[in-house]
């Protein structure tokens, strides 16, 4: 599904990613962990196509296609979804209206008609229930005055609505209390299938108790310095990142 080869990228001439290699297959869940400043959020932004970042070397393939020339909305149409660490506010635009626009724009890009209102409504109802979202919440302005937990739940709600092929969850656990974490993780798990893949970016092992990864990668100084299975996450939780850093410098 996603194949990243020797990716180098940065912002304003400052290199952040220094040779990332990663392969994510359909049906898999990958966790990317690492200390602050290791390049986790940069990686997610670069995959999503944020224009401030410049790719200086390497390639990103999505379903076998090099996506270098695709704009962020085109990548979204191809099935890339990013759950933002800090979702932005759009005053006056309701959650429902936003999601409806996103779905119909994506359909339009594929040459499809708008989703019929009844189908849209049914889907909204179903996904809101899955994420235990109150209906009144959906008529509020997007992210305006939302608590940290509401923002993250709203991100996963959008993911559920858009049904992406590749979902990247950027620190979705931060700012969530344990109940919200369980609801969000439960939602993500229900959306998993053999046809889609998930990349979970996190500092902590906590989320991985709920969304169990097939692979864990440790990012340090813009490189994946260690990969393993879910046990690696437990080891990191116990020992911290220092031993990885030491190993990486040897």
């Amino acid at each position: 599904m996603l194949h990243i080869k020797n990716l180098h990228a940065g912002i304003e001439e400052k290199g952040i990613l220094r040779g990332i290699n990663l392969e994510v297959k359909a049906g898999e869940v990958h966790a990317i962990m690492g200390p602050n400043g290791s390049g986790k959020s940069t990686l997610s932004s670069v995959i999503a196509g944020k224009e401030e970042y410049e790719v200086t070397d390497g390639e990103i393939f999505l379903n076998g296609e090099n996506i270098e020339e695709l704009g962020p909305e085109e990548r979204a149409h191809e099935g890339v979804f990013l759950s933002f660490q800090y979702p932005v506010e759009i005053p006056g635009v309701s959650v429902t209206n936003f999601v409806k626009t996103a779905i119909n724009e994506t359909r339009k890009a594929k040459g499809l008609e708008d989703m019929p209102a009844s189908e849209m409504l049914k889907k909204i109802r179903e996904k809101a229930e899955l994420l235990e979202i109150d209906r009144r919440f959906l008529s509020r302005s997007l992210n305006e005055g939302f608590s940290g937990g509401e923002k993250k739940r709203n991100e996963i709600f959008q993911m559920a609505m858009l049904e992406p092929k590749l979902a990247i969850l950027d620190e979705t656990d931060s700012g969530l209390d344990i109940d919200a974490l369980r609801i969000v993780a439960n939602g993500v798990n229900k959306l998993r299938s053999k046809d889609n893949a998930v990349i979970v970016i996190t500092h902590y092992q906590r989320l991985l108790d709920y969304i169990v990864p097939d692979f864990v990668h440790v990012l340090h100084n813009g490189k994946i310095v260690k990969s393993g299975t879910k046990e690696l996450a437990l080891e990191l939780e116990e020992k911290g990142y220092d031993w990885i850093k030491q190993e990486a410098t040897i």
Binding site: A48, E73, A76, V88, T101
Partner: protein, 482 residues
């Protein structure tokens, strides 16, 4: 109105030029350029006006001749040469006595381009239109239906002939001739506009609508509108404006007077998209308008405006809250792009007790434009328990435009409660990226953000107008992201 679809919007977004920039070649009857007493007399004669009206105009001309063009607004432009303007232009074939079938087919074609063909309008329910092309009302529809309720809705020139007692009594009572430079000019040379009278206790069963349009080159349009809502009556009035694109600047100086008697309510909505000039700032309409309403006891006047056009706008629809318990409202969206300049806002003059006013102003600036809100809230010494709430929000796009807020508050009664809120925000790259990431392209993302920003005001517009206004916002801002 025909259903508006996503594809139509898409098509419109592809055309970057001013959408209404066509020019209709109809024979017209235009006065020589310049302004003096003789021209004023000639206009009055052309309109077959009674002596009192001619005198009224001449008096206004005298006042105007002694006034200076105001300079206090935050706009910069080359002052119009008032002697280089033709003050009267009428499509030659127009004759108010003709039926619709006799109207020049080219005129009808023009209405079709505007999306307001009379054929269609006749079939539509609920909207009566008085169309003013350049200076003469060409056709007034629905007159009969309205007449049954005793409602008078006609060109003001006709009202001067048919209802002189009403015109004489109220014309210039809310906006006096000497009120300001442009109001004085308008009073001297106004050529047409609409007149509306709603009798006591009558609720006007349809939205009344006027469509203004400047067609002839080098002409100014000076329309005069007078709306009188008698005791306990209600009327909703819509006004739309377009102009063909031209290189030179065209002047538009209108006066609108509203009178809401005891327990009456007037809703006045405007969508203004006069030609804004091209992307280099050449051409466009100078829109210098005086709009004011008078509220008697327990009455209400509500102004809603969506201003996307004109090169320079100078406009402050206001309410004089004379009667106790009267209510004034002002809801505005003003969009400026490229080199447009707008200085717009309102005046809420609280004279009566327990009077209330609400001001919601949304300014959107893009390109190299300048957008100013200027508002006065005045509480007179006898206005016990007056209340005002003002909210002025500005949205900026890019780094080369400006948003300014000039709120004036004068309270002479200490029981007054006045609230003022103001925000300024910018469409951020983060917002755009967020939308992009969800599959929404940048143009659509901006439309979404702008519509969200303007929602409180758009919601105040009657349905058909809201759709048109939403389209206009998107058209006016396209290509403004860079």
């Amino acid at each position: 109105m025909s259903k508006y679809t996503e594809e139509e919007l898409q098509k419109e977004l592809e055309t970057k030029e001013y959408e209404y920039g066509f020019y209709t070649d109809i024979e017209s009857d235009t006065f020589p350029k310049g302004l003096n007493e003789d021209i004023v007399r000639a206009i009055s004669k052309k309109k077959n006006e009674p002596e009192w009206m001619t005198e009224w105009r001449l008096d206004a001309f005298k006042i105007w001749s002694e006034m200076e063009e105001p300079e206090w607004a935050n706009v910069h432009y080359e002052k119009p040469d008032f002697q280089a303007i033709s003050y009267y232009s009428a499509p030659k074939k127009a004759d108010p006595n003709k039926t619709l079938d006799d109207v020049d087919p080219e005129l009808l074609e023009m209405y079709k381009k505007l999306g307001i063909s009379i054929d269609e309008q006749k079939k539509l329910q609920g909207v009566a239109i008085d169309i003013v092309v350049d200076s003469v009302s060409v056709a007034t529809t629905f007159k009969k239906t309205l007449a049954e309720k005793g409602i008078i809705f006609c060109p003001i020139s006709e009202a001067i002939q048919e209802h002189p007692e009403l015109v004489k009594k109220y014309l210039g009572t809310v906006v006096p001739k000497k009120d300001n430079f442009y109001a004085a000019l308008n009073s001297a040379v106004f050529t047409d506009g609409s007149f509306c009278y709603i009798p006591k206790g009558v609720r006007c069963p349809m939205e009344l609508s006027t469509y203004f349009r400047i067609n002839e080159a080098g002409t100014g349009q000076f329309e005069r509108t007078l709306v009188i809502a008698d005791e306990g009556s209600y009327v909703s009035y819509l006004e739309g404006c377009t102009a063909p694109s031209r290189d030179e600047n065209q002047l538009h100086a209108a006066v609108v007077e509203l009178i809401a008697m005891d327990d009456a309510e007037i809703k006045y909505s405007t969508v203004q998209n006069w030609f804004p000039g091209n992307a280099e700032g050449k051409g466009g309409v100078y829109n210098f308008v005086t709009k004011r309403g008078l509220c008697e006891t327990n009455s209400k006047i509500s102004w809603t405006q969506v201003e996307t056009g004109s090169a320079v706008t100078w406009k402050y629809p206001s309410c004089v809250l004379k009667g106790d318990h009267s209510v004034g409202e002002f809801y505005s969206i003003a969009v400026t792009n490229n080199y447009q300049q707008a200085d717009t806002g309102t005046k809420m003059i609280h004279l009566g007790k327990n009077t209330r006013s609400t001001i919601i102003s949304k300014g959107i600036s893009a390109g190299k434009s300048q957008n100013s809100y200027r508002g006065l809230v005045q509480i007179a010494s006898k206005a016990e328990n007056a209340r005002n709430f003002s909210q002025c929000d500005s949205l900026l796009m890019g780094n080369k435009c400006g948003a300014h807020t000039f709120p004036y508050i004068e309270a002479k009664n200490k029981t007054a409660q006045i609230e003022h809120e103001a925000t300024t925000s910018k469409i951020g790259e983060d917002q755009i990226f967020y939308c992009n990431q969800r599959g929404i392209d940048t143009e659509k993302a901006i439309a979404l953000i702008v519509n969200g920003f303007s929602k409180e005001v758009l919601n105040k517009l009657p349905m058909e107008f809201a759709v048109e206004a939403q389209k206009l916002l998107e058209i006016s801002l396209e290509g403004s992201v860079g």
